[in-house]
């Protein structure tokens, strides 16, 4: 979920940069050098997983997984998402330097908020982990779709119906991500619980 170059108005582009750059700087400051390698490799795994297309009817949807990224990486999701978006613009020409701020805002804030709120429920012994996992996955996509629609609506009245349709188009992705997050977090709780404990992310330092 990202917005192409040339779509948004200048105030929205500036607002996106203002909302994302300080958060990016803060999270980079919190991220210790020792964890750069694990953050980089995990963000590569998330990037690869986000390229998976799930066929639905005649079309397909691709995963976003930003809620899960926030749950695993914590605040390091900001630089991880910024790196992934920059790579997308270099490798596939999706997005570019002017929309990087807005796109980081759309993807990373929901990731950090949903991941941070839901992660305490993923600890061993918590009964409500499945509900929290669904909210983490689906809620992050919902918030991202809302922010995307908001950015489009603020760019001009002509975009309001397009924003509504783009938001509605993300509802199936939201449900799929919610159910997938339950499965992935359930698997990680069984096989590698320390990945969900935040021990390697900057949040516990």
């Amino acid at each position: 979920m990202h917005i192409s170059e040339g779509v948004l108005s200048v105030p929205v582009l500036a607002g996106g940069a203002v909302l994302s750059l300080p958060a990016l700087g803060w999270s980079l400051k919190r991220l210790p050098w020792d964890h750069i390698m694990s953050t980089g490799i995990l963000s590569a795994a998330f990037f690869a997983a986000s390229l998976i297309h799930i066929p639905i009817g005649p079309g397909s949807v691709h995963l976003i997984l930003n809620g899960l990224l926030g749950a695993v990486l914590g605040t390091a999701a900001f630089p991880a998402i910024a790196a992934a978006l920059f790579l997308q613009s270099l490798l596939f020409s999706f997005g570019g330097p002017t929309t990087l701020g807005v796109n980081v805002c759309i993807m990373a804030w929901p990731a950090v908020i949903c991941g941070g709120l839901c992660r305490p429920f993923f600890r061993p012994g918590r009964a409500s982990w499945a509900l929290a996992a669904f909210i983490c996955g689906a809620g992050a996509v919902l918030l991202s779709a809302l922010l995307c629609a908001l950015a489009l609506t603020l760019s001009g009245d002509t975009f309001s119906s397009a924003a509504r349709i783009i938001f509605l188009a993300h509802l199936p992705v939201m449900l799929i991500e919610g159910f997938l997050s339950v499965g992935i977090i359930g698997y990680l709780r069984r096989s590698l619980p320390e990945l969900l404990s935040g021990a390697h992310s900057a949040d516990k330092l």
Binding site: I41, S43, A48, L91, A162, G183
Partner: protein, 268 residues
């Protein structure tokens, strides 16, 4: 799923009079960013056509393979298709209706906005493909370091890119193994469970790999910093000087073109 995550830099042809490939990546990246910024602020179709023309000119000078570049631009335009479909029928108060199709009225303002978006997006995509696409991702990462982007961000970008192909191939292997066991891709609950396990397994493997790499780095004396090796051109000094002059000229041309287009946009 894609497994090739590299720009087309290595297959760039040098034109007899001009080689974008040989120029300093930081100057190209800065020129691309300034031109994209100028293209983003345009609000009228005429300067946007000018920006698109400049972008295509840069692309022609880049010597990038035609087929790959065309497919990249096609995918950029595929992302713009929703705007062509959604903006013209959007109701505009007092807007001029061009034609009606059943219950839908198609407005001139919607078509003009979609055209403007398309021109600006293509101008930025052409310029960035020509400028950033003629350097490898590693060179672009080092260019970010030269442009004073924090070292941690640069290192994270390079590590992510270095492992991206590896992770995509790993997922490809897991997916192939699942298909051999009778997995049918889809959105059914059973298929979602298999996807969740595949992604979970990919994350577990990436975690173990990162532990091994960290331990190997510590064994090799890692002290908390990645030294970024500066890119040095191995060509003779006179060619290096010529490349530097050409890069400066390119940077100035992009800035001049961008500012001229913005002034034109304001003056119309």
């Amino acid at each position: 799923m894609r497994t090739n995550f590299e720009t087309s830099a290595d297959s760039t042809r040098s034109l007899p009079f001009f080689s974008l490939r040989a120029m300093r990546p930081e100057r190209k990246l800065a020129a691309g960013a300034i031109f994209s910024l100028c293209a983003a602020v345009l609000s009228r179709p005429d300067p946007a056509i000018g920006a698109c023309f400049f972008g295509v000119l840069l692309l022609c000078c880049s010597g990038l393979p035609l087929r790959k570049t065309a497919s990249r631009l096609l995918s950029v335009n595929a992302f713009l298709l929703p705007f062509w479909l959604l903006l013209p029928p959007s109701p505009v108060p007092g807007g001029e209706t061009l034609f009606s199709l059943g219950p839908l009225d198609f407005h001139r303002a919607g078509f003009e906005t979609a055209l403007l978006i398309c021109l600006k997006a293509n101008a930025a995509a052409c310029a960035l493909t020509a400028l950033a696409g003629t350097s490898t991702v590693a060179e672009n990462g080092r260019a970010l370091h030269e442009l004073h982007v924090p070292d941690k961000m640069t290192a994270l970008l390079l590590i992510t890119h270095a492992n991206l192909g590896l992770m995509a191939r790993e997922y490809g292997r897991l997916f192939q193994a699942a298909r051999l066991r009778g997995f049918v891709p889809g959105a059914s609950p059973a298929a979602c469970r298999v996807y969740a396990r595949l992604i979970g397994l990919l994350l577990v493997r990436s975690w173990h790999k990162s532990r091994r790499v960290e331990q190997a780095m510590l064994l090799r004396g890692f002290r908390g910093r990645f030294p970024l090796i500066p890119s040095r051109c191995s060509c003779p000094p006179e060619i290096r000087r010529r490349n530097r002059r050409a890069a400066s000229l390119l940077f100035l041309s992009c800035c001049f073109a961008g500012i001229t287009l913005v002034v034109w946009d304001v003056m119309i």
